[in-house]
Amino acid sequence: MASYTAPLRDMRYVLFDLMEGDGLASLPGFEDFTRDLIDPVLDEAAKICEQVLHPINRSGDEEGCAFENGVVRTPKGFREAYTLFREGGWTSISCDPAHGGQGWPKSVGILIEEMICSANLSFGMYPGLSHGAYVALHAHGSDELKDTYLPKLVDGTWSGTMCLTEPHCGTDLGLLRTKAIPEGDGSYKITGTKIFISAGEHDLTENIIHLVLARLPDAPKGVKGISLFLVPKYRLKEDGTPGASNGVSCGSIEHKMGIKASSTCVMNFDDSIGWLVGEPNKGMRAMFAMMNTERLSVGVQGLGLAEASYQGAVTYARERLQGRALTGVKHPDKPADPIIVHPDVRRMLLTHRAYVEGSRALAAWVGRAIDHEEHHPDPAVRAEAEEFVALMTPVVKALLTDLGFEATNLGMQVFGGHGFIREHGMEQYVRDCRIAQIYEGTNGIQALDLVGRKLPAHAGRNLRRFFHPVSAFIEAKVEDEQLGEFVQPLAKAFVRLQQATAQVARAGMANPDEAGAAATDYLRLLGLTALGYLWAKMAEISLAKLNDDPDGFHRAKVATARFYVERVLPQTNALFAMVMAGGKSMMDFDEAAF
């Protein structure tokens, strides 16, 4: 049975040492968020995740959600856990104080999200989707809608959803058909069917607030004719409490590979009363407000599952006694050596570890940029942070979920046959992680977003926000005697990334298929180089602290950094070659021959 202990030591390192989290309190609006306040909240979050959410992770997976007569029942213990979660104020952590939220910095929120995903991703889906709905409504809703719905979404009494996908359209939302007919009194009647709606129906909250994409009668074709509507499961009574049902029903729930305790619903809207969020035909814009934070959150899901898997794998590798070390007996007192003595097991564990800690650093970097984007007093810094976040959002989503899936697979592999059976929970991490590569825009779509939108935007300005700090760091440190072993490999990867970027831009401008062919490999090349930069920075920080390192944390950090630059970063060689090779070999392939 897997256990989970929140990696608070590393989280604090990333937040305070790497990202200078002490500086958060100097941002307007964040004055209270000093380390004195942050530390105990991380402790509390760890406690509820370890003690309340994680114990029902595997049982929830075994039991799954139940669907009967239009009603969805969450697995045993979820309702109680949700009550504790809500009463603990965890639904309101990152929400606007004007609507009852606690206004925590994203830098901290992202760490709490990670813990929740490690402990119980299925559970995390319910408050996660609510938060997505909160973000869209907060950014684009009218004051009246916000005053009516936000407080309850923030305090978790109600939950929310995002209803985008329809049976015939997922990625290409321009095709969607759900109709919205104006009633003349400011409300609309919404009719249509939505599928793959996470948390569309469940038994955790009094009401469910759906944000639904639909078309107005005179709307233009395609994505320019989509509007966003708020549609509650129950209409509100005069006093604001849920009243009559609103024609919203759950048709069925999906049977899935993973996140089985999260309900994935077919939702039918039948003349359901709804209200417009934002402007008519500007629904995609309103939706993207939510989509960007959701994409970061999905990246963090990959990270969270990888962390949980790593903990299981390390424990097992220490305990599992099989055979002897290749170079001779290491534990003569035992019948066999623990498998952790084997190079290949160490390869798996260190790859796993380097992915996890690198991913955490990347998430923290973007988290801090979001805090700067929203709170920095200097508009120039805010703009630069926004550009950085725009560039890195698809990278975080795709890279962290791809690495998460690779890592959970490695974790399962360390267990051998015991990873494949359900008892230890390792295969659940693999299954749960798989969806993260798919939803909120598949990782292929993320890669297209990176090369097709983020790269050319503002004549390439977004790129500056990543390339310039990395280049400045390399220039400053490449000659450094101690750091050279980390910075020189980074410098090589960086040059490859520069060349690949120029190639993608050049080839992509002449032929969009070339950009598309390079996209996935390019995204990973950029992502692994970003991790290389963060690992070199972490090596710099920890090298300076080796003299005061009672628990060996910094020694391990430097050693992991060394592993990363020597054994992971060289992947960029292959990725570079693949990007530069272009897409001709695939585009020339005869379609009939597939």
């Binding site: 503002h458 004549a459 390439g460 300005r461 790129l463 500056r464 390339f467 310039h468 990395v470 280049s471 400045a472 990334l497 520069q498 970027t501 120029a502 831009a505």
Partner: protein, 773 residues
């Protein structure tokens, strides 16, 4: 043939004054006369006022201040006697036959025998103008129809009558071609001549169809724009530009003059909307707007008139599915089954048919009609080129299907094209049904023609080297917008080696609308965005080395620019042994506009020029000061003449008025340098060093305090000052070229990393406008 050494222009309106200015631009003294205003204290007030307006005109009417001094204003009562000194007298007075004729009588009495008289009329037939005048007048008289503005529009329609002496016609033609830089198209004495006859028809067709189909004007301008190779102003944008109020007058006079069977009458229906707009003061950009207007009450919102309701509404982007669906196929657009597709056909199909109808009526040559529309209306392709593009047979069958008349010229061309290339030569279908070689005037050589019968000596994606005969090679930029990139540098390096081996001289020339607006900023910004500093520095170094190799090559190099030659495009000219510039060449080192300093030897060459040619007081500082004041504010010369004043061109450099003669002139110049050619000696520059920098800094600081310089101007000017003053040097330590180049390079590299500079480059790329940060 009689020389034209002095000219008179009578009538100081827009056209007359503009013609006088262009004559002055050619270096010819010109008398500008108009009537004496009633109760005038200053009897020359009208012509003098016109001269003052010319001096302030934007775009400039004069190419230099010297040119402006060649115009002498006067009046037709006191100064008629002076006509006796003039070889050519141009009449550009109001379009009234009685007024023109009474003026002609006065001119006839005053002018010297053998002088030529011409009218700039656009509507009155020559036969009417000479009616009742003596045969001596008729034999010296012709029509010279200029287009507005006369300096910039290259078309001149020349109409002779049966009595006109061939020598008189030839004298005007020669002068207009060589001295005024015009492309002279011979037109028949028919109403509207060529360009306006077809142009007015086209505009009327476009407007009447759009109004009757109730289309949106943005869509119309998009259809009758790029897809047809017509400037993106389309029709409504163009009418706003020239003035809506002209339309009814021009239409009426054309209609009055054309015979009853002319197809124009069928289209010349009244357009109440246009009358209403004019009545309300919407006469175009000169008034309070036209079909488009800027609504200041709505926050400077651009608005467009609704052709159905006549009300203004917010302008929007054109949205024409037919254009997207048609891609690059013009026939697909004309065949598109939509109102927009039908509109495209109804306008262009008619216009092309009318063009074919005009062959033999307005002009006998296909090329005359094509050239008139290219140069008079800025069409990319003339109507017969467009007919070839859609296909004569396609056009005929569509006309037949619509039940429209098929002009005989189209029958004549059935199964063929109007233009063709045969054995490397351009040929045009004649009215006799046979093809004839397209004959360029003596001294006109076009690279585009030469390319038809030879392969490039060298070529890559951005440039080519051509053998243009007599041992001269021509280096041509072929990159997008002729921007300079590493491929150009690469091929230029190779070309230098090749020319050394196989040729006597090199000309750097191309036939783009601009010689080169400088380095490819997009590439530079992209490299800067991804922090590719090494690559950027390599590009700077490569440019410096290549341009220097060009300068010291063992053969003469002649730069032959036309249009913009900015930044790196200016620097390459600075490294040539000589320049033969088209008069309309706009040279400047504009790097500071994007936050940089000239890095390909521009600073070095300008310092060297002002030191040796500047005629300045002694000491190192005056030359530095001159270069600084030119480059620090990105001064662009507005003509070749101005470029000489700024020493972007040397006093000895040549100027060609006619664009089409530039290559031949440049080649001749190059050949003239071959005999005994010795490459220039490398300059040694004595620069003031830090003390000079202090002086320039003071100047910058004061501009900054006056609010004339922005914070980033200060940064950029400071770097420029460091380069120009020679860095750490002092007057006792002269610098060689390499040292100044090193300064250019290091300051360039410092600036290109600056966020202020990156913001400037980015804004320039995205908006085409400089950022004042």
């Amino acid at each position: 043939m009689a020389n034209i050494d002095k000219v008179a222009v009578i009538g100081a309106g827009t056209m007359g004054a503009g013609i006088a200015a262009q004559v002055a631009n050619a270096g010819i003294p010109v008398l500008l006369l108009d009537i004496v205003p009633a109760d005038a204290t200053n009897r020359n007030a009208i012509a003098e006022g016109a001269l003052e307006r010319l001096k302030k005109a934007d775009p400039a009417a004069f190419m230099s201040r010297d040119a402006a001094r060649l115009v002498t204003p006067g009046n037709i009562e006191d100064h008629l006697a002076a006509l006796a000194e003039c070889d050519w007298i141009v009449e550009a007075v109001i379009e009234r036959l009685d007024i023109k004729q009474s003026l002609y009588a006065k001119i006839e009495a005053a002018r010297k025998p053998g002088s030529v008289v011409s009218s700039n009329t656009s509507t009155i037939p020559l036969s009417a103008l000479i009616g009742g005048l003596p045969t001596t007048f008729a034999s010296d008289f012709c029509i010279t129809h200029f287009f507005n503005p006369p300096r910039y529009m290259r078309l001149l329609e020349l109409v002779g009558g049966p009595a006109t002496r061939p020598e008189a016609l030839e004298a005007v033609r020669h002068f207009a071609d060589h001295r005024l830089g015009k492309s002279v198209v011979e037109a028949k004495d028919r109403p509207g001549f060529i360009a306006n006859r077809l142009g007015v028809y086209w505009l009327q067709a476009a407007v009447i169809e759009a109004v009757e189909m109730g289309l949106d004007i943005e869509d119309v301008d998009a259809i009758v724009g790029r897809p047809m190779g017509i400037p993106k102003t389309g029709v409504f944008g163009l009418l706003d530009l020239v003035g809506l109020d002209l339309m009814p007058h021009v239409n009426a006079s054309l209609a009055a003059a054309l015979p009853a069977e002319d197809p124009f009458h069928a289209l010349n229906r009244p357009v109440p909307l246009v009358d209403k707009l004019i009545a309300e003061g919407y006469t175009g950009r000169k008034g309070k707007g036209g079909f488009y207007r800027v609504n200041r009450e709505a926050g400077k919102r651009k608005e467009a008139v609704d052709l159905v309701t006549g009300a203004f509404r917010p302008a929007r982007k054109a949205d024409v599915e037919a254009i997207a669906a048609a891609g690059r196929s013009l026939t697909a657009l004309l065949d598109h089954d939509s109102p927009h597709g039908r509109y495209a056909w109804r306008v262009l199909g008619r216009t092309l048919a009318y063009a074919a109808f005009l062959l033999g009526d307005a002009a006998d040559e296909v090329e005359a009609i094509d050239e008139a529309m290219r140069l008079g209306y800025n069409w990319k392709q003339g109507p017969f080129q467009l007919i070839d593009k859609v296909g004569v047979d396609w056009l005929v069958s569509r006309l037949e299907r619509e039940g429209w008349a098929v002009p005989p010229a189209l029958r004549l061309a059935a199964g063929r094209t109007f233009h063709r290339i045969e054995a490397g030569r351009r040929q045009v279908l004649g009215l006799d049904g046979a093809y004839h070689d397209l004959v360029r005037p003596e001294g006109v050589v076009l690279l585009d023609d030469l390319k038809l019968n030879r392969q490039p000596v060298l070529k890559n994606g951005s440039a080519a080297l051509w053998d243009i005969g007599d041992g001269v090679a021509c280096f041509e930029f072929t990159s997008k917008m002729n921007s300079i990139d590493s491929e150009i540098m690469d091929l230029l390096g190779k070309s230098i080696r090749r020319v050394k081996k196989d040729f006597k001289a090199l000309v750097i020339y191309n036939e783009g609308s601009n010689f080169s607006a400088g380095a490819n900023l997009g590439l530079a910004l992209f490299a800067a965005n991804i922090a590719a500093w090494t690559e950027i520095e390599q590009m700077v170094t490569a440019g410096q080395q290549t341009y220097r190799a060009l300068k010291y090559a063992p053969f003469p190099v002649v730069g032959a620019p036309s249009g913009m030659a900015l930044g790196g495009g200016c620097e390459i000219l600075l490294h040539c042994d000589a320049v033969q510039a088209h008069a309309e060449t706009y040279v400047g080192l504009v790097e500071v506009g994007v936050g940089l300093v000239p890095g390909w030897g521009g600073c070095k060459e300008m310092l060297s020029r002002w030191s040796s040619l500047g005629n300045l007081p002694k000491g190192p500082m005056p030359a530095v000061g001159k270069v600084f004041e030119t480059v620090a504010v990105a001064t662009v010369a507005k003509s070749a003449a101005e470029a000489k004043e700024l020493l972007f061109l040397r006093p000895s450099d040549g100027v060609t008025m006619n664009r089409a003669r530039l290559l031949a002139d440049a080649k001749a110049k190059a050949l003239s340098l071959v005999e005994g050619y010795v490459p220039p000696a490398p300059p040694v520059l004595t620069l003031p060093g830090p003390s000079g920098k202090v002086a320039l800094d003071l100047a910058i600081g004061s501009l900054r305090r006056q609010g004339k310089a922005t914070p980033h101007d200060e940064v950029v000017s400071g770097a420029l000052a460091e380069v120009l003053t020679g860095g750490d040097t002092d007057v006792t330590t002269p610098l060689d070229e390499e040292q100044v180049l090193e300064l250019e390079r290091s300051r360039f590299m410092r600036l290109v990393r600056h966020p202020g500079t990156l913001a400037r480059i980015e804004t320039m790329l995205l908006t085409g406008k400089p950022l004042r940060n």
